[in-house]
Symmetry: C2
Subunit: 96 residues, 2 copies
């Protein structure tokens, strides 16, 4: 079972993820992405899907044409865990 | 510019799409899909994405592990149009 991040770990992790917002109500992190068109947005989603399968950790996400919103939380842990941070870092690396 | 469906056209079209719910507030149609796992869910999304590009008509959709929810409406038409019905039929054909 994955453990929820402590308050100190959360502060440190989020410090390294400036593009992600903390949804405190759900203990989740959220980031929106905008692309030039649907093809680029879905191409990005496909890359994220492959990472999700590799890490066995899956996002809650939505898409509307050129926009993608990704929410990361760990249901097993009842909130944000190290697995969300690892996933967020891998997603950030795709768009850097 | 695509035209919104008339009331009679809407009734007839939705009659042929029994698995879709009509979201009257948004004049959209909605269907949820459940698969065995994320890989199957995202495989389905990839098929839908290819159809969306081909028809140049894109869904608003979300995914959470094995579940996919698709909303179809035509922003240009201010509501449900024949393009949504065509898209819904093509999506239904994927899962029949």
């Amino acid at each position: 079972m994955t453990e929820q991040l402590s308050e100190a770990e959360r502060v440190e992790a989020l410090d390294g993820l400036p593009d992600w917002d903390n949804d405190e109500a759900r203990d989740a992190i959220v980031r929106g992405f905008t692309f030039d068109n649907f093809s680029q947005a879905f191409g990005f989603m496909t890359q994220v899907a492959l990472i999700a399968e590799k890490l066995d950790h899956h996002p809650e996400w939505s898409n509307m044409w050129n926009r993608v919103e990704i929410v990361l939380t760990t249901h097993d842990a009842g909130g944000l865990s190290g697995r969300d941070i690892e996933m967020a870092q891998a997603i950030d690396a795709l768009v850097e």
